[in-house]
């Protein structure tokens, strides 16, 4: 089928006029129409505007103009990235009727690159969750097994790419929300360095941790998308001015001499033995390719989770104070203002969001700030220092992305048990580092992700290692059985 192809292949088809942009867009929209009743990755499908844009691109092709690498290619965005005039709900009922009056910077950059938006994707409400079961609308299914979660909070983004409903999507990652669903769905997900991609127009959850990144079916596509969205943005005060390389120049099959550290703490109790075996096999693949692999230690790893679950809710309680029913979003009827605020937030927010707002409000309240919030920020320093020491010796750190494969929808009801699913991804966000999850194998038919971590702004080395692994394995070429049934 035409649409089960990489960005590079689709670009080639457009340039060679094997297919028009309208035909390509329509093929994707038809496929979304038939596949998404199973996967439920989309919250909004923007068929009309997609076809209008595709018509414009076809005019360029007819006029003989050259096409950029993403021009005319379909994409979808997690529903926490602002799209002017197109609903942006954040997976929450409180923003059900919100049509942003402006575009996020990533939206602007992808629009300018000619990518065709086909829709907005489901997510855990305000990006809080690890399974996309916390969406205010409906849970998304894992295309590899429809009774399993796709991971979260970018579960819609990972599931729609895994089901080939779009060739690429953007997600956001606060504690692992790109990498963990990428692992559960068997796709490539990159969380860039904090500050490498603008957060302007990304609805904030925890501002010092959130970062936007691409989800794709292969490493090269991922680099192509990062090429478009990365770079300094004066509209975001946390955006870093840095010299953006062409990330595709790092893609080579050779990793001879690459120094890879394997942190002992990421292979301790809690890791499913079958997942561990898949990752050990991946390590042996790197060794066979000439990489130098060595065990190492990140001694403060066990403190990352408790630090995160103080810092992230604290920032969330502050960021979500803006949802009061006055200027936008849902408003509950009430006789006075105070009642209106409380009722609006009671009815508009789901349980996980309320729990984190409560936690954060408590951690920041008078008398507890030092004991919880300040302490957690100090522990964050120790975690960052662990990584600094490791990167003085190694180019890349390698670990499982998640301790298990995707679990069943409804299986985990205890919040703490659910939080443990992000145990290997959270330290990376606290330290602001870039990390990628790539398909590394399967356990009982479910994908396993391998996480590679590098130092700040060294996404190039991540891509190099990930590409070499991908080109010497075939896990990324496998597709969910669902696809065969739908087509």
């Amino acid at each position: 089928m035409t649409i089960f192809k990489s960005l590079e292949e689709l670009h080639h088809m457009l340039v060679q006029k094997e297919i028009s942009c309208v035909e390509l867009t329509r093929a994707y929209l038809d496929y979304v129409d038939s596949a998404d009743c199973w996967v439920k990755a989309f919250l909004t499908v923007t068929a009309d505007s997609a076809l209008t844009k595709a018509t414009e691109i076809d005019k360029k092709i007819t006029a003989g103009e050259s096409l950029g690498p993403l021009e005319g290619l379909p994409m979808a965005l997690k529903d926490n990235m602002c799209t002017e005039g197109i609903p942006t709900t954040c997976g929450s009922r409180i923003l059900e009727n919100f049509n942003p009056p402006y575009n996020a910077t990533v939206t602007e950059r992808l629009n300018a690159a000619g990518a065709v938006l086909v829709g907005k994707l489901n997510m855990d409400e305000f990006a809080m969750g690890s399974s996309t079961e916390n969406s205010g609308y409906y849970p998304t299914a894992n295309p590899w097994h429809l009774d399993r979660v796709p991971g979260g909070s970018s579960g819609g983004s990972a599931a729609c790419v895994a089901a080939r409903e779009v060739p690429f999507a953007l997600g956001s990652d606060t504690g692992g929300s790109i990498r963990q669903p990428a692992a559960f769905c068997g796709v490539v997900g990159l969380k860039p360095t904090y500050g490498a991609v603008s957060r302007y127009g990304l609805v904030a959850f925890a501002s010092s941790l959130d970062q936007i990144g691409p989800l794709t079916t292969n490493v090269k596509d991922n680099a192509l998308v990062l090429n478009t969205i990365a770079g300094h943005d004066p509209k975001d005060s946390t955006s870093v001015p840095f010299v953006k390389p062409d990330y595709t120049q790092f893609l080579e099959k050779n990793v001879k001499g690459l120094k890879i550290g394997i942190p002992d703490e990421y292979f301790a109790s809690g890791l499913n033995p079958d997942v561990a075996e898949v990752i050990q096999k991946a390590i042996r693949t790197f060794e066979s390719l000439g990489a130098e692999v060595e065990r190492c230690s990140l001694p403060h790893t066990e403190y990352a989770m408790p630090a995160y679950y103080i810092i992230a809710p604290a920032e969330c309680s502050s960021n979500l104070a803006r949802y009061d029913g006055v200027r936008y979003g849902y408003r509950a009827e009430a006789d006075d203002m105070s009642e209106m605020f409380k009722k609006t937030r009671e009815k508009g927010f789901g349980q996980e969001v309320k729990r984190r707002i409560m936690l954060g409000t408590y951690a920041l309240s008078s008398g507890y700030y030092d004991a919880y919030y300040l302490k957690a920020q100090k522990v964050r320093t120790l975690i960052k220092q662990d990584f600094d020491r490791a990167f003085a010796k190694y180019d890349v750190l390698l670990s499982p992305t998640a301790p298990t494969t995707a679990y069943k929808i409804g299986e985990k009801s205890d919040p703490l048990a659910m939080y443990m699913g992000d145990v290997y991804t959270i330290p990376v966000n606290l330290a602001g580092l870039p990390a990628i999850s790539v398909p590394a194998g399967f356990v009982d038919g479910m994908p396993v992700g391998m996480q590679l971590i590098s130092k700040h702004f060294d996404e190039g080395t991540l891509y190099k290692a990930a590409y070499a692994f991908e080109q010497n394995t075939e896990y990324h070429l496998q597709m969910p059985a669902l696809l065969k049934e739908v087509r």
């Binding site: 009727n97 049509n99 009056p101 402006y102 904090y194 500050g195 010092s208 004066p234 946390t238 870093v240 001015p241 403190y303 408790p306 679950y309 103080i310 309680s317 104070a321 029913g325 006055v326 200027r327 936008y328 979003g329 849902y330 408003r331 006075d336 203002m337 105070s338 009642e339 209106m340 605020f341 409380k342 937030r345 009671e346 927010f349 349980q351 309320k354 729990r355 409560m358 936690l359 409000t361 408590y362 309240s365 507890y368 004991a371 919880y372 302490k375 957690a376 920020q377 100090k378 522990v379 964050r380 320093t381 120790l382 960052k384 919040p415 703490l416 606290l430 602001g432 580092l433 700040h456």
Partner: protein
């Protein structure tokens, strides 16, 4: 430190959240469980450690102080749950 029901109700008031009886019960238990887990941070000696607010160094962003048009009032009010004559309309305060 253990949170009481009354403290949970006070935090809900600070956060402008109306909670049902069941939610107060549930959050008292869950918050205690999560904060109990966070107690392990106290095992670490951090007196000499500087806190990290952002892991990547931030830079001031300055621009020329030029007068530019802001977003139009109509565009902003389009999302308002209730508006009147160019203002956001809310329940009576006094």
């Amino acid at each position: 430190m253990k949170l009481s029901r009354e403290e949970v109700e006070h935090v809900a008031l600070l956060a402008r959240l109306q909670l049902s009886e069941e939610e107060v019960e549930l959050y008292t238990e869950q918050l205690n469980s999560i904060l109990g887990y966070a107690e392990m941070l106290q095992k670490l000696e951090t007196d000499q450690v500087f806190p990290t607010a952002h892991a990547v160094q931030l830079f001031n962003v300055l621009r020329e102080d030029e007068v530019k048009p802001s977003m139009s009032r109509d565009k902003i009010l389009k999302n308002a749950p209730d508006e009147d004559d160019g203002f956001f309309r809310v329940p009576k305060i006094v």
